[in-house]
Symmetry: D3
């Protein structure tokens, strides 16, 4: 359900993203959710000169990580954007939209991703909190780490009390739309990767047969 | 299931479509259903100079109507075409094809649409009649109005006894393919639009969470 | 898709079933398919004194076989009946009914089973032939063996040219209704049974997690 | 979608039901929907001496009708009850509950049924009106006739202006829960019944193969 | 996803369950999972004189709680059993079986439930820990409280370092098998309960129409 | 399930493909399955001058065959490639990958196809063998013939003992992804094609209504 990844961004990338953030214009986050009463943050101006560079840098870093690809089965990823929370800012409980206007066709948001760019010790509050019914789970990662979580949850960013929270945000359409199916296939693929070479060829073939066919049944072409 | 829309076309558009119809060649409607024994009508010649103008005019008018977009969740719409029924003509009971060759990929026809261009008093007969098991429902709208109905029904156009029936016809592929799902989401969206602002923020968030997730589960990406 | 099982019935059981068949009344097989033009065989009279003994004997023998239970995930099995084909008899291509009136509620026939009771050398013809599109697969097993095949195929019993074909027949409602799902779960369970003990405990736990959840998703309660 | 059936009840049955209605206690219809603000009718007292006789009479009459069985694929039917609308009474727009407490397990209401017992000319108003989006379809049948309609619609009983509306009401759980699937299987079965004997045996076998397998895929066991 | 409930058991019930636990024989928890290498706990002897009393007491307490019924849509619940963890005992990561042999037909375990009977301060360790991918969520409730969690997760009971962990355990088959669907319906029902009376009757009817139909589509009869 | 087609390639095409094979470089088949321990064959070098000509020739020949289109409902076909098995070569049991990188988006392999180019008498062994549980079905067709089989099976090419096996290979993404659905629609379309003209117009319309709607329900747009 959740995937936490350390070291997605290396030191140079972190430095570059911080420099871009420092040099770029940020606008009210409500530009992309005009009717929200709970969104109170800043997003990099889409027309800013460095917006595309930052997106490409973050997208490239994520796709480099094998466990990200294994977990998310990504089909399309929205260009990641930089967001900032100054003291007092927050993003109250909300669920992510089902479809986003990305490129030529809508992207279905199956998974959401936060890339932590600032040091967690440099700001108070600002935890990403995901509700699971009555229970909440909180994330506040090291600089360069990321968390992938299901877009179909209620989640929020707690108020920042001091310092500044600088993150990258993106949304992923998966080849395996259903989250339960995706988790099962991920676990089965892990078993095959870790145990497959020890199996008899017959059983390895059986396991590959199951994995191929689950992917065929659950995966979207198109 | 059915959506009747008044005033889709304004007076100028009605006049322009009538003028185009009067000035254009029409061909046997069997060009698009060569094996039909029950289709007996006329369609504007696809190669006629004004065919595209008429299509764009009608498509634009439909997409202007908010309730059309809310009801149909349109993903792709076939270019609307003009059709004419002279006295004696009719289109016997039939179901619409599942897929139509539109543009680069087949369009799945989830919803069918008739735009009424002539005055209902100017022709006798010519009702669109949709069968619901043993019961039928009939539509003969005012000039400029439209009816949207499920493509998966048996339906017919009753014989025109006198005058001329001039209509626009199109087919819509919806983001929500299943008709029952689409109806539920439409009704839930209506509740949110009409009652959402009166709710506590928590309940409004809950309702938005349900709507986002139903759309995610039921909607087609691609 | 197919499961062939040797030695389902032991020698005593084969002898007892033959003795019952020899001592019992048989009736026209059309009693259970009155409108069939292609069924031409004999079935044991349901009211015969030994019908129930024969059913219990055959059902008990099948349920003894672990691979039968692993493959079929049986939920309910119709009482097996004895059937006979004399020279000239056959059962032309047909598909088995979806639901059979067995006990208090209809049994959905997911899998069909033939138990071979006579020696294959004692009759000419009489092969069970299952069509897979243009290709057919034939079964004529040793006495005491069985074949399990999907009820949703077209299949037939070829004409018996000489001798007598004596078989037991039954139908199984599976806990996993969909045949593709059932096959995948069967193969995955085989992998777990044959390789599980060699895996690290973590991976064995992962594999069990996948199997439990596939069974939960695909299996019918009720 | 709709099935109208004439002559479900014969003259004697109509007379007997009217006599039972005249001799029985009726109670506020809100006994079975205590929170409804739109239900304003009378239902026979469940504890009345003749309630069970009336239920059995109506259930038996419905099950006698072959087209009812073909259309509804009934698995369980709630005991039909008598309901009365005096002048001023009505039942505003509502959808039927998904599950009803009938016998030992909940009955899922897939189809609703109204049996008309009084003469339509003996009361003004009182039409059963089923909404299909913006369009409504109305039913006010002859004495002894019935209408079967989907429980998942919004429907209402229009106010009775004068006279008395006496009807039987019941709910049916179908073996084919999905209404679109049920309609397709019904139509395909009609084709087989009306054309099957004229087909080559091979094609008749193919058609039976399709029907058996659709019923297997779509039908509920349990 | 998770539901934590305070005060499910009152003081008398807690006292009675502790007394039963003190007076009853407990057996190795592997009686119900003979092949487990990670289960190391004690369960009340099924044949003990007070086992049934304890089950009924716990089941009754759970069904008294409205929010439990609203959240779980319970169809069948396994008789809750008492379990004990002495120092050093634990139950390593595992997923619950899909089907349990309860009564006359297998119960599908959709939801698992732990009832906390001992005081949390009376034992060290012993947390119920549910894995959500790489993240875990822990539960160690007050005496009398309960937690409901999805059976399709990997979860464990952490080793008890000192004291004794006394809990009740049960499994619930829900009318809404799919967890995502169940959560959506629960949230929508909450909206209706909290906001319904403030809505216009039309919108309240719409919302009820959606809820009835989601329950019809997603709910299991049988 | 299987479709065998004679005469897909005519004599000229067979001769041309043999000439291309004789003049082209072939590389180790593991280029497209680098981790396979069971693949031991040769494939035409993708960069060879004649690779594209051979692909187009084979694709064109397949699409000419009406029964191929009726059976496969092809949406996308991978460019067919030439493969060779010299003495000793084989391709052990394997299942085909669910998705192949073809063109701009992954192609889901629903059906696999072997085109036989060499004479069956010119090589010993080399049968395509498809496993159906414990039973296998073998194919070794005449030059110019083809076999279409489900990609979700375990299948193998038996060792070639002498001579050379020259075949074309391709993979088809179908508009009807589920194999059982596809088979039912194929059979129903055959009934309509062979019997439709003899039916009453009403029944022909009913049958077309069922076929259109099954195709709409089961077919993928996009």
């Amino acid at each position: 359900m959740f995937l936490e990844l350390d070291g997605v961004l290396n030191g140079d990338e972190i430095a570059r993203l911080r420099a871009i953030a420092a040099a770029s214009r940020f606008v009210d986050g409500r530009v992309s959710n005009p009717h929200s009463e709970v969104k109170n943050n800043l997003q990099i101006d889409p027309s800013d000169a460095h917006t595309e560079e930052a997106s490409k840098l973050m997208a490239g870093a994520l796709f480099r990580v094998e466990d990200f690809r294994n977990f998310a089965f990504p089909r399309v990823m929205a260009p990641p954007i930089l967001a900032k929370y100054s003291p007092g800012m927050h993003y109250g409980a909300h669920s992510d939209a089902a479809f986003l206007p990305v490129g030529q066709r809508p992207l279905r948001s199956d998974l959401s991703c936060t890339l932590f760019i600032g040091e967690p010790g440099s700001y108070d509050g600002g935890e990403l909190s995901v509700r699971l019914g009555g229970k909440s789970v909180e994330f506040k990662g090291a600089a360069g780490s990321a968390v992938i979580y299901p877009s179909n949850t209620l989640h929020e960013v707690r108020p920042v009390a001091s310092g500044e929270r600088l993150v990258g945000l993106t949304f992923i359409e998966s080849m395996i739309p259903d989250g339960v199916n995706r988790e099962l296939l991920y676990q089965l693929n892990e078993v095959a990767a870790l145990e497959g070479l020890k199996m008899s060829w017959d059983n390895r073939t059986r396991l590959e047969y199951v994995r191929n066919n689950l992917r065929r049944m659950w995966g979207e072409a198109g």
